[in-house]
Amino acid sequence: MQPKRVLVALAGTSADPDVIRLVAPIAKSARANVMGIHVIEVRWNLPLDAVMEAELDRGEQLLESAKKVAEQAGFSLETELLQAREAAAAIIDTAVERKCDLIVVAMPFRKRLGRVYIGRTVQNVYVNAPCAVLAYRQEQNA
């Protein structure tokens, strides 16, 4: 598979740099356009376009860091900040709108009730995305 448009969902976890480096060979070999997005989830008691300063700052910083990691890895990363009620829906909609053929999601290694916990965003993207999805789970001791 030679994806031409790749969407990387960045959650601001320690897995973000790993997933950008993971995408680097794909981006370079296929000369793919890579877009990194971060979705700020807005609680239902707030309007969808509410200005959440701390989250905006955090989102901006993690996108800037992602850009730097991508530059070091040798490819250019376009970035976008979104606000949505549910991150998975916004990720999928953006992928559809941008005609992406691959979504890359990352998750740090977490356990709940003795089992690896994937989280609802990764799970929803995995289940509902119309394009290919690559899910990266960080190693246990990262």
């Binding site: 376009d49 850009k67 900040l81």
Partner: protein
């Protein structure tokens, strides 16, 4: 009119914003999301019209800019955030080398300066060195006591300038400030010259190069200070303490030898003074020796001026530093003077070897490691004494700039929270003086001390007035201390001024009123500017202006001219293009081409048979201005070449016209640049 036009117009009228929010529907009901388009990569953080520049914003983009930023980071360090100002403050242990090194280092040459004057009257007159040293230490004790009162009364710093201004008036404040500014410049010159002299004492071959070496050292100190006060202090702490310990050890060994009566062979100066003397020993000569010895009192005002540099509690830390400084100076100065007079050390007429070098050579021997430690640390501390000037001058200049007596740049903090303009200006002035006096300590010292004692006297007398006015609890003790301080420092001032007048003090006395007048005139300028610019209560509304008269000079019909004309038309409908033609044929040709263009913009053509472009154009603008009351706006099209060296291939008429119009009243100049690599126009860009 099509339906898209109002929407386009609405978009055109939207004010520019760093954040744009676009709501998207999503594929399912309830999947709406907001796309936030923000300036990622600019480093600007914030929301809703309030943004903060971050370190990323400050990063240079071009190759030259990045290279300059890299060099600057290498030389003076990484840019500091304003919040780091508190971390840049100093404690007592760092304050001592930064603010007291000038005073402490004076012990390295104060004895010699007094001896050099006494030696004129012959070797026998040198016995008066010790009584003179005691008198200097007595004055220092008064000064330290009085300055501690200044610190407590003015914990926000400002020192003598602030005390004199508040209690004697603006002129007295400016006199104190000018005196201190002169003194700080001289501190750098004298200390650097003395530092080089100390090095040349054990390496005489560098003596002919003392000026270039001094200049290099001033540059080094300036760079060190541009790195910030704290870093400079950390770098300079070790040599200061090495000097105190090394000199203290030498004095103890010397005292031990003197006590047990084992006096080693006395080191002789390479070129001694005439033992019989060349002048009689008069009161004036003794006073001159005292005046020269009191060079050791310089630098004691730096602590009071630099109180805000200290960590909290600022005043307490400053007073502790002041007392430590006075005690260390007195101990070293008296110890050195005592040993020099007891061992019969004589000064060198040619200033090649210092008295301290000869004394140390006598006490510990020329091959002893302690000799090299003492000489080397002396050289370093004398250089660091120059650092007191670098600490004091920029801070005082910033206080004066905030009070609008000096240009505003002096109040601006640089990338390392240092007052860069003050540091650079001080370095340049000190370098000029060092060069002018050939790097000679002896030639520079007469200029010194007047400024310090003038500032001391003004601040002490100012405090007397303050205590008298306020009459706080304990005012009687305070007024007594400062009254004694006034009398003592005033007396020293008169002695120094009289005895050193012919030797060069006249220059300082001449310079003082000139600097006061300069500072005063700067303040008058700023006051006038403020009067002209300040908005009164009734004017706090934006005035409504009519469309201006716009003139577009057009040299030829090309892309650059088209952009300028298009832009001018968007500014005002009262538009006129003007072409200066060097010949009648050229004018006719241009007229034809303009008509072919089919533009509705009226054109005036001015023929210039004397081949000048600027003069007819400026006269044309004048003539239009006289015939019309509306403000004139000149829109210039300027071609910007891709590389800097390509500038020389173009006549830069727009640049010259801009320069000519800059000071023209009632004229707005708008520059429409056209970049050689810019293939687009000024219209809306896609995306």
């Amino acid at each position: 009119m099509s339906g898209e036009e109002p929407q386009q117009q609405q978009e055109d009228e939207t004010p520019p914003s760093l954040e744009r929010r676009v709501t998207r529907a999503g594929r399912h009901v309830g999947d709406r999301y907001v796309r936030i388009v923000r300036p990622i990569g600019s480093g600007l953080r914030g929301h809703g019209g309030r943004y903060v520049a971050t370190e990323q914003t400050m990063a240079a983009t071009g190759t030259v800019g990045r290279a300059w930023q890299g060099l600057s980071a290498f030389l003076i360090g990484k840019r500091l955030h304003s919040d780091a100002e508190a971390d840049e403050r100093i404690g007592v242990e760092t304050g001592l080398p930064i603010l007291a090194s000038d005073n402490i280092s004076s012990s390295a040459y104060a004895t010699e300066e007094a001896m050099r004057i006494l030696a004129i009257a012959g070797t026998g007159a040198l016995v008066l060195t010790m009584p003179i040293a005691l008198a200097v230490v007595f004055v220092l004790a008064i000064v330290v006591l009085s300055e501690s009162r200044v610190i407590r009364a003015y914990p926000n710093g400002g020192g003598s300038y602030l005390v004199a201004r508040e209690n004697h008036g603006v002129i007295a404040g400016l006199v104190a400030a000018s005196a201190l500014l002169i003194d700080y410049v001289l501190t750098v010159s004298v200390s650097t010259a003395a530092g080089v002299a100390a090095i040349s004492s054990f390496a005489p071959e560098i003596h002919p190069y003392r000026v270039p070496i001094g200049l290099a050292l001033i540059a080094l100190l300036a760079i060190g200070n541009l790195r910030g006060v704290r870093e400079a202090g950390v770098a300079f702490a070790a040599p200061t303490y090495a000097y105190i310990i090394g000199m203290g050890a030498m004095i103890l060994i010397g005292l031990g030898r003197w006590y047990v009566g084992v006096v080693p062979p006395i080191a002789q100066p390479p070129h001694p003074f005439d033992p019989a003397g060349t002048a009689p020993l008069t009161i004036l000569l003794v006073l001159r020796a005292f005046a020269s010895g009191s060079v050791g009192l310089t630098g004691s005002e730096a602590v009071a001026n630099g109180v805000p540099s200290f960590k909290k509690p600022e005043a307490r830390n400053a007073v502790i530093t002041l007392v430590l400084m006075g005690s260390i100076f007195a101990t070293l100065f008296l110890g050195l003077t005592f040993l020099a007079t007891q061992f019969g050390i004589r000064p060198d007429a040619d200033e090649i070897e210092t008295v301290n070098s000869m004394l140390t050579r006598t006490v510990v021997g020329a091959t002893s490691p302690l000799y090299f430690i003492v000489q080397f640390s002396t050289a370093i501390i004398l250089l660091l004494a120059a650092n007191t000037g670098f600490t004091g001058f920029p801070r005082l200049a910033s206080v004066l700039a905030n009070d609008r007596f000096m240009p505003r740049h002096f109040a601006d903090m640089g990338s390392r929270l240092a007052f860069n303009t003050g540091i650079v200006v001080l370095g340049i002035l000190a370098a000029i003086i060092l060069t002018a006096f050939g790097g000679s300590v002896n030639a520079l010292v007469p200029l010194y001390t007047i400024g310090v004692f003038l500032a001391f006297t003004l601040s002490q007398s100012g405090l007397v007035r303050r205590w008298w006015r306020l009459r706080n609890p304990g005012w009687r003790v305070s007024i007594l201390i400062n009254a004694i301080g006034t009398v003592v420092t005033g007396t020293v001032l008169v002695v120094v001024a009289v005895t050193k007048f012919q030797l060069g003090a006249w220059m300082v006395l001449l310079l003082l009123p000139l600097i006061v007048a300069l500072l005063y005139s700067i303040n008058r300028h700023y006051t006038n500017v403020q009067d002209a610019l300040v908005i009164s209560g009734g004017e706090q509304r934006l005035p409504t202006l009519g469309a201006p008269v716009v003139i577009v000079p057009v040299a030829r019909i090309d892309r650059a001219a088209m952009q300028a004309l298009a832009f001018a038309r968007s500014v005002s409908p009262n538009l006129k293009a003007v072409h200066i033609s060097l010949s009648t044929e050229g004018a006719a040709d241009f007229q034809r081409r303009w008509e072919r263009l089919g533009s509705d913009i009226p054109l005036d053509i001015v023929e210039s048979p004397f081949r000048s472009l600027l003069a007819p154009l400026l006269k044309y603008i004048d003539a239009i201005d006289k015939s019309d009351d509306r403000p004139i706006t000149v829109v210039l099209s300027e071609f910007v070449p891709r590389h800097w060296w390509e500038w020389f291939l173009h006549s830069q008429t727009a640049m010259r016209l801009k320069a000519s119009l800059l000071f023209r009243p009632n004229t707005i100049v708008i520059d429409v640049p056209y970049h050689s690599h810019d293939t687009g126009d000024l219209g809306p860009r896609p995306g």
